[in-house]
Homo-oligomer: 132 residues x 2
Amino acid sequence: MQSSVDISNAEFEVLDVLWKKHPATANEIIERLNLKKQWHDKTVKTLLNRLVKKEAIGFEKEKRCYLYHPIVEREAYTQSESQSLIERMFSGRVSPLIAGFAKHKNLEKDDIDELKQIISAWEQENQEKEND
Amino acid sequence: MQSSVDISNAEFEVLDVLWKKHPATANEIIERLNLKKQWHDKTVKTLLNRLVKKEAIGFEKEKRCYLYHPIVEREAYTQSESQSLIERMFSGRVSPLIAGFAKHKNLEKDDIDELKQIISAWEQENQEKEND
DNA sequence: TACTTGTGATTACGCTTGTAATCGATTTGT
DNA sequence: ACAAATCGATTACAAGCGTAATCACAAGTA
């Protein structure tokens, strides 16, 4: 159920810096990306173009440069991606994933605390419905 | 850290039926896959070949047919995939993923129960000196 | 005005993927 | 023994991807 567009890994990186701060010119994006990846600016521009073509991002012309902005929302995208991974590998259940993390010692106290919080929020919301 | 091989989506489906029961001949695999996907048998054989080439699966010759078996383990693979997704989209933390699921009403009571179980197991294993 | 420079657009190219068809060897039916 | 059926191996081929280089045009500069 790929609601949004199909975005490649490299494209995702570009989108990601755009999500963090937008609108942004190609050069800003290139510069910010450069902190993590060493991509040629031509490469980044190709990726921007592809994202525009896929309508994952848009732009307005600011004189000579473009000001890019995301169209696809980060949360929608990450949600759909994680959903699809979890469906494919864990029959749609989240717990096996978490269990795997636990087993491989990739869970820290912070994670546990956050999970607890999510759980109690869920329970509260669930209870509210019943009380209603 | 892509520890194991790079396996494509289609290849994963093939591997998945093999993980469920192995060893298995190409025909068994094709037949079992056919329940979910309508792939041409030639297609499945191509995928089997690619998986062999990638050393994700192996085989022994049983007369005329091959008996395939997984080399990559399911858990190792799913672990590495989910790890990498969570790293890319959630800075390596699992809770935002779960939070997303909660927000989109994709968490059910069963999941919550399982999560609780994982949490208490984790807590037990990581016995903290300050047990309240 | 003519030239250089900076921008996005277009083109490039080898690799992987999805999706098969064909080939060559071997087994099996007659 | 010879033809037919059946395997895995090889080849095919378009689309997407990673990674750029080149093109065409507008804007600033001499």
